[in-house]
């Protein structure tokens, strides 16, 4: 019989496996900012889709989309804990800080992923559930495990994972996929490279140290600046397209054109400012504006449909 060193009533745990994590750590594991963008774009897709969704079903869907996005974030942090520890932006995450054991994060992520996909399927519909499963699998297997450490195109292809939420929202409302939802996917898909390459431009040393082959590290900053500009032009065109095909109304058309013009200005600044502090500041400004751009674009789409301004 094993003899315990502690009395049976005392809380015990295997040494070195004590989980110090509080609720805040688990929230951080789910990447709340990424999660909020996923929830928001899914809601926009849901509201922009034809037909009505019962508020309880919409709420339920958003809960499990959020849980699925959180699961993907946690599994990403589990797999990338080694490189997170080497980058200043990510070194304070719960695993590098030894606040939550990695195996605990893996369990948390897997349970959350499986649970969210299952519950979304049972309570909402299986098309949305399948898309959520695809999103999580794409983010973890295709992006995190396969592409991230191998190719400078990591976030070009991997960006698809972040682009699925509006399609999931659309599928919640319609039970299917359509050209309009693919267009919403395309906007975020094209938005991802300039967003992350702008970050990589002023965090290049971090990525170098961690051995992550981001485009500026592998191909050089100038090549990255050109790619940012090209993707920005394509993204702005895709961003305006919903206003041209009737998915967005006049307000959306005007807003997307104005927001797109500002985005292109920032992308151009990144392209022409190539040296010193000004170059870093230009990249930082584009990174910040890119977040605002996506939120604003989907907010206008959401607002127009919620207000009944689009048929």
């Amino acid at each position: 019989m094993t003899k315990l060193s502690a009395a049976p009533t005392e809380p015990i745990a295997v040494k070195n496996a004590a989980n110090q994590g509080g609720l805040r750590d688990y929230l951080l594991l789910m990447k709340p900012r990424v999660m909020s963008l996923a929830i928001f774009t899914a809601l926009a897709g849901m509201v922009a889709a034809p037909g009505d969704v019962h508020p309880l079903i919409a709420f339920t869907a958003l809960i499990f989309i959020a849980a699925g996005a959180g699961a993907a974030g946690a599994l990403n942090m589990w797999y990338d804990a080694d490189i997170d520890a080497q980058m200043s932006r990510t070194a304070l995450r719960p695993i590098p800080q030894n606040r939550v054991p990695p195996d605990e994060v893996l369990t948390f992520g897997l349970v959350l992923a499986g649970g969210s996909v299952f519950c979304l399927g049972v309570l909402v519909n299986w098309v949305a559930s399948g898309l959520l499963a695809l999103t999580i699998a794409f983010y973890i297997i295709i992006y995190t495990m396969w592409l991230k450490r191998r190719t400078p195109h990591n976030i070009v292809i991997g960006g698809a994972a972040g682009a699925f939420p509006p399609m999931i929202g659309w599928a919640v409302a319609t039970g299917g996929v359509s050209l309009e939802s693919i267009l919403l996917f395309t906007i975020i898909f094209l938005w991802t490279p300039p967003h992350f390459w702008a970050l990589a431009l002023y965090r290049m040393r971090d990525y170098e140290r961690a051995g992550v082959p981001m485009l500026p590290v592998v191909a050089g900053k100038d090549a990255a600046r050109l790619q940012i500009l090209i993707y920005s032009v394509l993204m702005v065109a895709a961003g305006i397209a919903p206003g041209l095909i009737g998915l967005g109304g006049v307000v959306y058309l005007v807003s997307s054109a104005a927001l797109g013009a500002v985005f292109l200005y920032y992308a151009w600044m990144v392209y022409v400012r190539r040296d010193g502090h000004a170059a870093d500041e230009a990249a930082r400004a584009l990174f910040r504006f890119s977040i605002l751009y996506l939120f604003a674009l989907f907010a206008v789409l959401l607002g127009e449909h919620a207000a009944g301004l689009v048929g």
Binding site: L4, S5, L56
Partner: protein, 54 residues
């Protein structure tokens, strides 16, 4: 039989407090999930509940 057994530690009061909070969060989460299943089931069944054969 072993006199030593696996090495174990006593959780500090802070660790125990955090574990208690995590346990409560899991409990509340499961409760909320059960309630959500109940409400969505009611919604999906809707008026069919009243029209079922007795």
């Amino acid at each position: 039989m072993s006199d030593t057994g696996p090495e174990r530690i006593v959780l500090s009061p802070e660790e125990a407090r955090r574990r208690r909070i995590r346990s409560m969060a899991i409990g509340w989460g499961l409760g909320a999930l059960a309630l959500l299943f109940f409400l969505v089931t009611l919604l999906r069944l809707g008026a069919n509940v009243g029209q079922r054969a007795l």
